[in-house]
Amino acid sequence: MTLTWLGRVALYVAFLATLGGIIHQVISLRANRPSRSIRWALVSLAGIVGAVGVMQFALITHNFSLAYVSENNATFTPLLYSITGMWSALEGSLLLWSLLLCAIIVLVLHYYRRRSQDPVVSWAALVLFGVSAFFLGLMCGPADPFIHNADKVLQGAGPNALLQDNPLVAIHPPLLYMGFVGFTVPFAFAIAMLITGRVHDRWALEQRRWTVLAWGVLSVGVVLGAWWSYQVLGWGGFWGWDPVENAALLPWLTATAYIHSVIVQDRRGLFRVWNLSLAIATFALTVLGTFFTRSGVLQSVHAFSSSTLGPLLIGFFFVTVALGVGLLAWRGDRLRSPVGVDHPLSREGLFIANNVLFVGFAVVVLLGTVFPLLYEAVNGGQVTVGTPYFATVAVPMSIVLLVLMSLAPLVGWRNLDVGVLWSRIRVSAWASLIMVVALIIGGVRRPMVLLAYFLATAAAGAAFRTLRGAFIAAKRRHQPWYDALRGPSAGGMVVHLGVVVMALAIVTSTSYTTRNEVTLATGQSTVVSGQYVTFHGFRTVKDSLETATQLRVDVNHHALLPAITTYGGRKAQPVGTPAIDSSLARDVYVTFDAVGGNGAASGAQVEGDLPAGSVVLGVTVEPLLAWLWIGGLLLGVGSALSFVRRRQGDEGDA
């Protein structure tokens, strides 16, 4: 019982400290005093760190007196997967979320300590404490991670098979949560700005920095999640438009719109109401995402088991939106800028199009995600809304997006001078044509692929041209070349390049992927889709953690070990473990699909007519897939650059 009570006390300390912070902020606001609520934030952080410490201790020492540990851990679970077991299930994931939230509150309060008498900071701190109180409150009540196991349990169930066969489980959820939690900050400040009526453009740009950080972390987290899915799920794909995946995408879309739109607010004071709405929407969608993941209302590979949290989470979502919308209704019309946009194809005009695109797509993804629920409520039957629907909407959207990326960096503010635009875009335009011609000569004929490469080259051209301008400006200032990377648009252009690379990887791999099933006897070779595949034989791995039947396969003389693995524990279920031969040109994705004979030991599918010693391999060849991850890396690098850019007041701003 000790662990249970230690953990619970730590949680109560954290929760009460958060309440203390709220009360302190309210008092300071009423008395118009500078607040020192960072003390409360620190106590809260100490509490949650304690709770996390207790849980990690229990997981690492396989202490089954906690029900959570007996459900997600076993005596033979390796250290890494014991640690990550904390976020394998619902209650523990809230521990991680709260830890990050309390940490970021301390960070924010420390960062703004010199401005603590500014009411904007005070109100923002109040909102942050409020959000933290909600998540900590959940754990003090319905989502208690420290429930004691009444029976003495000798062996735990172990983590889910798919959560212990790849180390990315240690990186993807924390990054994702950091991104989500990060979006709380612009939300808090947006509420604060609305309440105080001080929509300083300075504050908006300030919040952009926080948002870019959270956005960058979330982007990398999502890409790593896609990479993880790719490596373990066995179908060679990386995105399934699964409800939980969509839940992570929605706030990302509105955050992207926000990051771009705030540039216009900084430059010309426009879009103030729109930007506040986007900041509020991003956080609200984050909460909605937690609802989809934890309520059990939507069927998903990624969802945690259903619970009573559903109504509470949707209630919190509603409160968040009602607060934001209510404040906007009260203040909004007074905040509107007196000036307008002068020309539809000026940079401001293109940013409007950008906003429309991202928010529109977010609405479509949201609709597609909840549509099965709607259909069931109205018609009683089940429907699935999957890739064909989302792809049909995503493709035209991506095309328009690439066009915008080709034009916006080169277009001037306020007005469009077609001549100037052409002189800037000329080189990219010719490069794009040459690219298409080269592809046609090379045998690529699909119109969609050609269009994608045409636009991608133009978009890359715009990014390169902007970067080149930054380098030239740095040289003129007699600064070293890497000083250009701290310029205002360098980070953004690197991100654009990353997006271009990812777009090309996606288009090429989805258009030209070939899937094959090959049957090979032991020692036999074959050529499939240009790859030389040999099957050498079986290999069995049996230890305390897992039992696996591996196939010794050679692809183009690289050794691979596709397998069927059964992990120990109650949740034991054979899972396919794919093997990938990756190169810059193509990925060869090999899965152990079926075995001949009566295949008793392996747990694989048995193929009726095959002799023993033969196997059926799934061999999927995906061109240029590795570039998807490289593009994701560029996204991360670009957002890091954007975060460290020179701020206003430094010399040499473009």
């Binding site: 179908w235 699964d242 000036v339 529109g360 609709l367 018609n379 809304v385 119109p447």
Partner: protein, 127 residues
């Protein structure tokens, strides 16, 4: 070369390339293409969001064989999808049929796009 002339030259090149690209585009009516397209529209019965084209589960392969057989027997795309729906229920299709409530899935995005576009245009006119 002046700006206008260089632009015109590029446009000419663009039209030529476009013509070449479109004239020789691969056909979309062959049986293989039809089968691949149908397979991408049908959900693997044992999975949550994979199509039968993507999954190698036994039930998935069974459905693939079924589709291939029907395409070669000359059944239309619509008939194949309808008969699969008749066996498995509406949830077997990855994109709901556009009759009935499914129409909402296409009207709402268009409506939203229109609304936002109007908002955007109004921003431009306002001075």
């Amino acid at each position: 070369m002046t700006i206008v002339r260089s632009f015109r030259l590029w446009c000419l090149a663009f039209v030529c390339v476009l013509a070449v690209a479109l004239l020789d585009a691969p056909s979309t009516a062959s049986a293989q293409v039809r089968i691949a397209h149908l397979e991408s529209l049908v959900k693997c019965p044992a999975c949550d969001d994979l199509s039968v084209a993507q999954s190698n589960a036994t039930s998935s392969i069974a459905v693939r064989h079924d589709i291939t057989r029907r395409v070669y027997e000359g059944e239309s795309d619509n008939k194949i999808l309808t008969s699969l729906e008749a066996t498995y229920g509406t949830s077997i299709l990855l994109s709901p049929s556009t009759s009935g409530l499914g129409l909402l899935l296409w009207l709402v995005p268009l409506g939203v796009l229109l609304a936002l576009a109007v908002a955007g245009v109004r921003m431009v006119r306002r001075r």
